[in-house]
Every structure is written in C-alpha cells, then in structure tokens.
Symmetry: none
Subunit: 198 residues, 4 copies
Amino acid sequence: MPADPARRNERSRRAILAAALELLAETGYADLTVERIAARAGVGKQTIYRWWRGKGAVILDALVDAATAGDGSVPDTGDVAADLRALIRATVAEFADPRLSATTRAITIETLSDDALAEQARDRLLRPQLDAVRSRLEAGRRVGQVRPDVDLDQVVELLFGPIYHRWLLRTGPLTEAYADGVVDLALAAITPAGLRQG
Amino acid sequence: MPADPARRNERSRRAILAAALELLAETGYADLTVERIAARAGVGKQTIYRWWRGKGAVILDALVDAATAGDGSVPDTGDVAADLRALIRATVAEFADPRLSATTRAITIETLSDDALAEQARDRLLRPQLDAVRSRLEAGRRVGQVRPDVDLDQVVELLFGPIYHRWLLRTGPLTEAYADGVVDLALAAITPAGLRQG
Amino acid sequence: MPADPARRNERSRRAILAAALELLAETGYADLTVERIAARAGVGKQTIYRWWRGKGAVILDALVDAATAGDGSVPDTGDVAADLRALIRATVAEFADPRLSATTRAITIETLSDDALAEQARDRLLRPQLDAVRSRLEAGRRVGQVRPDVDLDQVVELLFGPIYHRWLLRTGPLTEAYADGVVDLALAAITPAGLRQG
Amino acid sequence: MPADPARRNERSRRAILAAALELLAETGYADLTVERIAARAGVGKQTIYRWWRGKGAVILDALVDAATAGDGSVPDTGDVAADLRALIRATVAEFADPRLSATTRAITIETLSDDALAEQARDRLLRPQLDAVRSRLEAGRRVGQVRPDVDLDQVVELLFGPIYHRWLLRTGPLTEAYADGVVDLALAAITPAGLRQG
DNA sequence: TCATAAACGAGACGGTACGTCGTGTCTTCGG
DNA sequence: CCGAAGACACGACGTACCGTCTCGTTTATGA
C-alpha cells in the first residue's frame, strides 16, 4: 500500500531536499548516496524510499522546489533582442558556475538512465522554463520582431541547445561573449527580413 | 609498474570492446558493469583495469573504434544546404534509434561524472566529427553559400545543439521533419543576404 | 505514565494472544514479528507495546493463558510408576508435535536472550507444571514408593531434563518407547531398595 | 556458482571465527551481528556470506574449532563414579560461567530456528562429546560398574539432560553440589544391584 | 447526559541490520 | 610466466522490523 501524503512530515521532507542540494554542492554527484542524504538530513533511509523512488527523484524535487521559488517568466522590455541577450547571458552564467551546474549535472545523469524520471523532469522542471521563453517570443512575434513562419519551440531549442551542447561536451568556454554569439545567430535566424541589419 | 603495451593481447582488447557494445545494446547502461563485460568477453577483470580506467574508458574506446571505421568527412555536393540536410537527417536518425543512442547515452553519463574522460571524449570522439562539419561549412563559405562573418564553431553547435537538447530532454520527437526544421533555421542564420529567399 | 489496566480492551488482548499463537503455528518463529501480530490481530502496534515489553512477553502470556486453562495437577492413581509413565508419555508427545512445540521453541529463544522474561517464564509457566509433578512424587514418597533421601526437585529434572535435551539437540526420536525408557531409568534411581525388581 | 575452498583465505577465516567468539564473550548474543563480526575481523561482509550461511553457521564453526582443539575423550581412572563426578562437575562449571555459556546460548538460539544448522551442531559439535561419555560408560559396563541392560545413550541424556534443563530454564543454581546430586541420581539408576550401597 | 480523557487503529518516523551487488585490488593456478 | 578466474575489503543498495511518536476515532466513565 502506498504511503498517505496527509501524514507526511514536512520537516523531514525539507531536510531531505536541503541535504541533497548541500551534498551535491559540497561533494558532487559521485559522492551523493541515499545513505548520505539520510544521514545529513537526520532521517531514516526508509523515509526517503517511502516518498521517492531513489536519489534521482529527490534531486528532481529539490530542483523543482528551488525553481518554483522565483517568478519564472521572462522579462519583457519590448525589445526581444535585448531580453534574449539578458536571458541567455544569465543561463550561460548558471551553467558556468560549478555549484549551480552540479545539480543540473546530477539530474541529467539520473534522467539519462530513468525514462520515468526524464518525463517528470521535462514536465515539472524544464517545460515551465522553456514555455516562459516561448511566451516571450510569442509576444515578440505579435509586435513584428519575430518572423511569423518559424516554429517557436524550435527557436527555443536554437537558443538553449548550443548551450547544453557546449556545457555537456566541453567544446568551449561558457562566457558572456559566447552567450551573445548564440543570441546573435538565433536572432539572425528569426528576425524578419525588413528589420535585418546585415 | 604500468603495463607494457607491446605485450598487450589484441584478441582480448577486441573482445572487451565488442562485449561492451553488445551489452549496451542488449541490456542498457544500467546493467553494464565491468564484471559483466569481463564475463562476456571471456576475460579477467584485471585485464580490463590494466588497460582502462574503468567502464567509461572502455565505452569511449569502443566508440572511437567504431567511429574511426568510416571516412569521417562530410560529403560535398557543392550545395551546403543539401549536404547539411542529409547530414542532420542522418544524425537525428541515429539519436532516434534506441540501439545506437544507447552508447551515446552511456558515454554521456560517464563523461558527466569524470572530467578526464570528458576531455578524451571531446578530443578523440567528438572533435573529429564536429571538425568534419566545420570543414564542409568552410568550403561553403569559400563559395559564398555561408556568411563570412559567422563563427563556424558556433554554427556547428547551432546544428547539433538543438538535437542534443531534444534527445537529452525528450522535449519532442526526433523525426526527419524535425531535422529539416533545424537545418532551415540554421540556414536562415548563416545564408548571406543575397541568397535568401524569405 | 503507565497505562491504566482498567480501561484495557479485552477484545484486543485476546486477539493479540490468538494471533501470536496462530502465526507461530502457521509460519514459525522466524516469521513472527510484532508488526505481523498486530496486523493479524487487527490492532495497532502501540497497543502491543503498551501492554507487553515485546513479542517474547506476548508469547509468554499466550502460553500462560493456554496452560492455565486446564487443571494442572498430575493425576494420582496410587501408583507412582504408572502415573509418571502417563505423564511423560504425554509430555514427549507434546514435544514431538511440531505445532505444539513451536510455541515452546519460541519462548525458549526469547528467554535465552532476555533474563527478565526467563524469570517470568520460570515462575508463571514452568514452576506450576514442575511443582505439580513434585507434588505427585511427594505423595508417592509418603506411601513408600519413592526413596525418602532423594531431592524431589532433582528427580523432576531427571524426568524432564532428558526430554528437553533430546528435543533441543535432536539427538534422537521423541517416541513413546523413548518416554518409557526415561521413566524406567528415573524409577530405577528413586525406587526404594525393597521394591526393586532387578 | 559456489566458491572455491582451495582459494579461501585462511587468515580471514581465523579472524572471523575469533571475532565472533570475542564479540559473544564481550557483548553477548543480542549485539552479535554479521556486520560487527566483519568489522571486528577486518573483513568484508561478503567474505562471511561467501563461506557461511549466516552468523549461526559462523558460531558453530567457531565452536567446533575450539572443541576440536582438545582431546575430547573422557578420562578413565577405572572408577566410573569418580570419572562421571569429575566430568559433570566440569560441565556444570562451564554452564555456570557466563563467558563460556554465552556461546552455548548463542548456538542454541540459532539451532532453534534453523533445522539444517541444528543437524550440523548435533553431528559436528555435540555427538563427539556425547559419544566420548558413552565410551566411558561402555568401558564401565565391561568391568561390571554399569548395569548391562540400560541404553547407554539414555544414560548420557540422564546426565546432561538435567543440566541443560536447569541452565535453560533457570530452575536452580549450577553448583558443584548440584553436579554431585545429578551424578548420584544417575549412578543410582545404573549401578548393578550387587554394588549398591543404599 | 454528555465532555473529556484514555485507549485504540493506523501508520510515519529515526534507526539498525539484513543479504546482495559492484568496485578496484590482490592472489592463485593452469596452459 | 602470463592471464582467466575469482577472492578480497569496501561501501551502497533497497527491504524488513524495531520501538517511539503522532494522528484522528471510538468508548466509557465521572462531573
């Protein structure tokens, strides 16, 4: 029989998620074990397994919790180019920071070997972020700053794909200049002919 | 003392690499262990640890071996657009195939938690492939099919980044139509103004 | 604060004792856990821990309950030899029965690792049984069928000790013939010289 | 596949048996776990499970090892009464010593819940000891100190049964006087009529 | 006669040990 | 005298119970 969420101990839940994030930041994924999370959280292992399928699910929940904290929407100054530039710079900075990217690394490893978890990560963690960018692009399209014939989901991937690629495969540095280069290329692909400079 | 490569048993080396790939294709990464590779290859575990740092290194060698088999260069018909289309279609098809992508999944997981291995994978496995694409783009640039002001390495990432992104994060299907969409967007970004249709 | 026996639920008490005996008979000691007893009895674990120190105490109570049911005294036909023979045959039969001896096995294990429980078992369960035999021997001594110089407690142990020994250590079968052999030897030790046959 | 005894590490084997006995003497059965034995012996748990079915089997082997050290035969001075008296006094003293009886307690608990182990304990540990006593009785019978019509196995149980009984059930003190009482009663049962004093 | 406090069922909790699996190193033995 | 075979120390896995600790829900007085 499945556990009853109503009787769940909120203090333990928080302690577990916090412990997972702390351990990831401090010792990295390789040293992250369910046993250590439990010990750090002052919790029995069973309390973890009662509510999560394994450490992957714990990490995901911790990330979703953290992500849900902020607003989530992409600022709209009226200038798509500027907004994307700011967004991509921030994203690149996040991937470049070892502490912050440690959690991304961890959840990536976990999803690569667990399809169910991958679905969850996509729907609960990633989709909201990507949809926020898509919304900003839609707004840009409504004011004529984005070509009307492009698939906006593909544009989102055009922006984030290269960053993931570079981060994952270490093909180059994750700098601000790089971020701007990505945005420039993407803008070149989506800006309507009438607005182009080159 | 380090092992003497001169005395290395080529038969065992081949058997180990083959066993690793077979197990990956058959049972997936989660069930891939050094012990199973050794058993399948009819080899002692020590023979693996003598020549490789762990299963990650074995997988990498197996992939490099397989990749080195072909030519490696991207065909040049004179039409960059057509060549990229064919290339990206093939790439997407490869990622879509569970058997073929199982090895990519495996090496990705391994590199995510082993920086030394990541470097090796980048230099020995990935770079040659990316450079081949870059070379094709350079050729295209020489004949005026590619804008002279773009960073070709970034263009390569513009092509492959979205594919990795979608494969990694399961944000959508990896179909031929999708491949074409990626190419279209990239072309929009790199085609000189004079050649544009839109 | 200790629980108030006046408010104790008799229905639960019975259900717990019954569940313990049933589980012992059905699945044996190794599978007997407080959790299973509670589940079988339809009772919360705390209700067991409120009234008993653990499963050992529950088993003891169950046995005492069962033992207290009958009269407890050893029949006296006037012939010590015959009465002992009947008694020991019954005792051996009980030890030979897997269902009945399962409870003895359980309480033996528990008392071996819990001194307090051992005292209780001795005083509440065993002593009455042994005293009943001792009383029968005393009666026999009064009519000259038992040597006046023997320690009757030792005689009781002389009768039951071998049975426990054989049961505990599986050194031989627990048959009626064996029971008679035990009695014969004991009688040889305690019968006054004047009554001896050999 | 079962492990190959030829490749067994004798040093580890000894360390495990020694650790088990030490822990039993120091902290008692309740605190004896496979994990602690392994830790104390400086050994991996798997090395225990590779060669034994569990802690019960380890204890048994340790006891057999210890028992096999000595000669095992019962001294023969020509006087059965005196030899039995010395033997039973020593036996009672052993059961009375908490350190020595701790191992007996442990193996008793284990055999009570494991039939296969019980057989082993009977054949490898107990039978040799009981047979030694039986041999001494046989010698006594040949010289007319023991009635020819008694079953010697039952006589052995007549000697040891009461001791086990009293030790197991704590029905009285395990003193030298008690030991003598047991022997006196047994002798009364087995001494030929012609030699009796009473 | 009904409030009220205890016992109750249920089961989540922090722990401990289980028995298994894989790692990377060390040892043995047969070809 | 190499190398397959696999034993070894180690440590994490996921599970089972332990005994304690809330939770509502009966239940059974005693105010």
